[in-house]
């Protein structure tokens, strides 16, 4: 059975795929991750996660166009599926609910989306 929970790192990667849109391929995702989190990551690690997310059905991919700086090779563009979208929403709602139960913040924070 394929695990359908969303890990922390997976969640971030999934979101970045969403942010990057048409430019979401492994290298760009890794660079964006480094830029946003200031944490170093290897392309291999990201690629591995992307593959896993695709196995879980949260991502779809197709081959994109080639360019010169890639030695004429094509890239694989990733895209969030409906299931992926749902997983992200579930994860967010779960955390918001936890935040709301946290007494120190329950009344002071007002999340609105």
């Amino acid at each position: 059975m394929i695990e359908t929970k969303l890990g922390d790192f997976e969640e971030v990667i999934l979101l970045i795929v969403g942010i990057l849109g048409e430019q979401a391929y492994a290298l760009n995702i890794a660079d964006e991750f480094e830029a946003q989190t200031k944490r170093a990551v290897s392309i291999g690690a990201v690629h591995s996660t992307l593959t896993r997310l695709a196995d879980k059905g949260f991502l779809e991919s197709k081959m994109g166009e080639a360019s010169a700086e890639r030695g004429g090779r094509r890239k694989r563009i990733y895209e969030i599926t409906a299931a992926g979208q749902r997983a992200l929403e579930n994860s967010r709602d779960f955390k918001v609910s936890l935040w709301n139960q946290f007494p120190a913040f329950a009344d002071k924070l007002n999340f609105s989306f």
Binding site: L27, A30, I43, A45, H47, M63, A66, R74, K75
Partner: protein
């Protein structure tokens, strides 16, 4: 423009799934060119490699599908090997655990040996640094220079500067004083320190001790500076910053902390807790820095690079001759020896710290080899004995086309697997027992020692060698079986294997018996040393130190009285040293038979008249010092029997009344004491002179008679605090202190015994496995014998008879070998126990009990069994 590293590309193409190749290589290349814009080519290439290595993940790897025969066969070997190991749990356990304990012992021994070899190796200038040795040549054979054993690594102050001045190849000299007990005061707290030394400002140029705070080049250049080690700084100042703080030496000399250094590593021969600058000492006693006769320094020199010691050695005597005005008279010699290896190799009489022993290292390495051999023999014995079980498998393999070579391969890979298990288990044992090992040897094994590349490489190659060693013969034996014979069903293991097994078991017995004899002899010798009559009494003696305090020396008799008033104290004596301490030597002239004043330098004891009766030292002639003769403190000398002989007398009466001259005193010899062992029994009692010198005292000896030592000490302490407030109260018991001289011996004995016991256990584990196997083989025979009327005893006898023969042979071979080896070991002691028949009887009984115990476990069980059980199913 630079393209990505080709090798990395080849590498990733090799392991990456083909369907991923396009996108991944594309990404990597794009990343590479992005990097190139930001940084250098090298960094971009490094990053490329980094990214490639990070693709070594399961999802990206090619599925390894090989149809090659080799691959399938190797897989099969391991599968069969694993099944075999799992099926025969008992024998696998014996094989693996025996080998594991053997490997673990070897790892421990290797760490011990490497640690001993690592002494002082961390100094960067080690290859250019030499130790200056000094020796005097008294009277006889004035023209032959001293032999190495007559030198001391202990010399005077001016020789270092003189050598540097005269020999331009010398870059630095560095002197240290030994850490005699020093009074240190910090923040009104008093400490009696044995680890505070004086040292030259070149200390950090010659030696590679790391300075944590302060400037190493300047720290010791000024007078009244002190460098503390990290733990000493912590002891004095806790967590405060110690830099710039004041440490008071000798009540009045205020020293500023100018640097903090790391603790001197444990694998250093010369260790200390703090260095006070040599100039401080110079200000205190300037005269000794010109005196070639005052000896109390450890001298080191460092040569300039690209110079050799050979060029310098011959010139040293010239320098010494030039500087010592009356060289012809004093015959003072100096020599140098490399600091590298001096911990193990130096034979000089006095050293700056503890010494290692090459022979111990050799002994332990041999034991390590013994243990490994014993474990490998177990392996060979069990595998060959049980070859019958594999015979069918081998037959089938051969019939379907396996060649001998591939069968050898199969068995070897099986044995590698076993030794790999054993190795992993061994590492677990090492990790678990590391604290015990530390307690025994002081050698620390940390996880970084084990989990590093060097260890891993040694370990893997070690495992391979062991697998080969243990598996080579069985592999060849097994692979030689002829399939037609084996598969017909009436195959029995060949007799060649039996002879070999007997030979190997005998060999194991030989090693085991030798180890038992060795262990017993070592313990006998230690007991002998500790019970040997020392010639003085050391029981119930408490020693209190006041470290040459002038206040105390001035009131010495009154203070002795005060302490003697304590109800539990029966006797009190004061002296400069007590037995077990190191003593200075004194140039001494005594009138010889021919009436000439003859010079020698015996060691010197400075005592009071109570000392001789206090320590029960036997007088051979004359009288001891007495308070009744006023002149005893100025014109009298006592010597021991060894000194009597040194000056050419045979009868102690003859020397009484002869003239002497020593350290500014002149007068007559008044008494001769018997040779008491004032140092350890490793060496013969050396010539000794004793004088009464109230102003050289440093210690009180108190004889205590009490059931509650703790209370007595508390009372003495409070008395001390009122009488001698300027000194800390430091005390020890003489017998504890004296026995510390045997600590290295005890450590050696414990280590030896531990490893010997391990070796014996492994050997008998193997014997146990082997007898279990052979007994089960003969179970039907036993059944038939019982049916025909054999008694249990006769069957046990039958099964043990062979073993008994082997034991006798092993004993006959082992005894003379062990006797020879232990005699050599004992030769290192001046006082030796004899190797008597008792030791051999003990060894014979011990080995028989263990061997027959192991054996009878199985044979009695087999003999008691109801024959119907073994015979009913045929």
């Amino acid at each position: 423009m630079q393209s990505p590293p080709q090798l990395a590309q080849k590498f990733i193409n090799w392991f990456l799934k083909e369907e991923l190749a396009e996108e991944v290589l594309g990404d990597l290349e794009e990343k590479y060119y992005r990097k190139l814009k930001e940084t250098s080519v090298t960094k971009a290439k490094l990053n490329y490699w980094f990214q490639v290595l990070n693709y070594l993940r399961p999802f990206a790897l090619k599925k390894y599908r090989s149809n090659s025969n080799n691959f399938i066969m190797i897989n099969n070997y391991y599968k069969v090997a694993w099944r075999h190991i799992a099926k025969e749990k008992f024998y696998s356990f014996i094989n693996i655990s025996g080998l594991a304990v053997g490997i673990a012992s070897c790892i421990f021994i290797a760490f011990y040996v490497l640690n001993e070899l690592s002494y002082d190796q961390y100094h960067e200038n080690l290859d250019r640094t030499y130790r200056v040795l000094q020796g005097f040549k008294a009277n006889e054979d004035l023209d032959t220079p001293p032999v190495p054993e007559e030198y001391r690594f202990w010399g005077n102050a001016p020789i270092g500067p003189a050598l540097k001045e005269e020999i331009p190849e010398i870059e630095h000299f560095c002197r240290f004083t030994p850490g005699h007990s020093k009074l240190i005061k910090v923040n009104d707290e008093l400490y009696n320190e044995d680890g505070v030394v004086f040292g030259d400002s070149t200390a950090f140029k010659v030696f590679s001790w790391k300075v944590i705070a302060g400037n190493p080049d300047l720290a010791l250049t000024e007078p009244n500076s002190i460098v503390l080690t990290e733990s000493q700084a912590k002891k004095y100042f806790g967590n405060e910053d110690a830099m710039g703080k004041i440490v008071t030496y000798n009540q009045t000399v205020e020293c500023k902390v100018t640097a903090i250094m790391e603790d001197v590593p444990l694998n250093s021969q010369f260790r200390f807790d703090a260095i006070i600058s040599m100039k401080t000492f110079y200000n205190e006693r300037p005269a000794i820095f010109d005196s070639w006769g005052y000896v109390d320094f450890y001298n080191y020199i460092t040569l300039k690079e690209n110079t050799t010691i050979e060029a310098i050695k011959p010139r040293i005597t010239d320098v010494v001759e030039k500087y010592t005005a009356d060289w012809e008279q004093s015959k003072f010699y100096a020599d140098v020896e490399p600091m590298d290896g001096s911990y193990l190799n130096s034979v000089a009489k006095r050293q700056a710290g503890k010494m290692g022993s090459i022979s111990n290292l050799i002994i332990f390495s041999i034991i390590g080899a013994f243990i490994l051999i014993i474990a490998c023999i177990n392996f060979i014995n069990l595998s060959t004995a049980r070859s019958l079980e594999r015979a069918k498998e081998i037959g089938i393999r051969k019939v379907v086309g396996a060649r001998q070579f591939s069968l050898v391969n199969q068995f070897l890979s099986e044995f590698f697997l076993l030794s790999l298990f054993a190795g992993v288990l061994a590492i677990a044992i090492v990790i678990v027992l590391a604290p015990n090992f530390f307690g025994l040897t002081g050698v620390e094994i940390t996880s970084t020692d084990i989990f590093n590349i060097e260890f891993a490489l040694t370990f893997v190659s070690g495992i391979a060698i062991i697998g080969l060693l243990a598996g080579f013969y069985p592999a060849f034996l097994l692979s030689k079986f002829q399939p037609s014979k084996v598969l017909k069903g009436n195959f029995k293991t060949g007799s060649s294997g039996v002879i070999l097994r007997k030979g190997l078991v005998t060999f194991q017995f030989i090693l085991t018996i030798a180890l038992i004899i060795g262990t017993t002899t070592i313990y006998n010798q230690l007991k002998f040393l500790q019970n040997h009559d020392l010639g003085f009494s050391k029981e119930q003696v408490l020693v209190m130190e006041f470290g040459f305090d002038t206040q105390v020396q001035l009131n010495i008799e009154a203070l002795k009285n005060e302490f003697g008033n304590d109800p539990d104290v029966t006797e009190v004596s004061a002296s400069r040293a007590v037995p077990g301490n190191f003593l200075p030597n004194a140039g001494t002239l005594i009138e010889n038979k021919a009436g000439e004043m003859e010079p020698h330098s015996p060691t010197i004891y400075e005592i009071d008249p109570d000392f001789i009766p206090f320590y029960d030292i036997k007088m051979l002639s004359g009288r001891p010092f007495s308070y009744d003769y006023y002149s005893d403190s100025t014109e009298a000398l006592m010597i021991n029997m060894a000194a009597v002989k040194l000056w050419g007398y045979t009868d102690p009466e003859e020397v009484i009344g002869k003239k002497f001259s020593q350290w500014g005193k002149e007068g007559k010899v008044i008494g001769v004491v018997d040779d008491f062992n004032y140092k350890s029994l490793h060496s013969e009692v050396e010539p000794l002179s004793l004088r009464y010198e109230p102003f050289s005292m440093a210690k009180f000896s108190l004889k205590i008679n009490t059931d509650d030592v703790f209370q007595t000490i508390q009372r003495l302490e409070s008395k001390w605090k009122t009488l001698i407030p300027q000194r800390p109260f430091t005390y020890y018991f003489l017998d504890d202190n004296f026995d510390q001289q045997y600590r290295a011996d005890n450590q050696f004995a414990q280590l030896f015994a531990s490893f010997a016991i391990l070796a014996i256990i492994i050997a008998f584990l193997g014997l146990f496995g082997l007898t279990t196997y052979t007994t089960t083989q003969r179970i039907k025979e036993i059944g038939i014998r019982k049916v025909l009327g054999a008694s249990v005893q006769s069957i046990v006898l039958l099964l043990s008879k062979d073993l008994f023969k082997l034991l006798v042979i092993a004993f006959l071979i082992a005894s003379p070998l062990a006797w020879f080896a232990m005699n050599k070991w004992l030769a290192g002691f001046a006082y030796q126990t004899s190797i008597n028949a008792g030791i051999f009887i003990i060894a014979a009984i011990a080995i028989s009990v263990i061997a027959f115990g192991t054996m009878s476990w199985q044979s009695v069980k087999a003999a008691l069994q109801n024959p119907t059980n073994s015979l009913k199913n045929e």
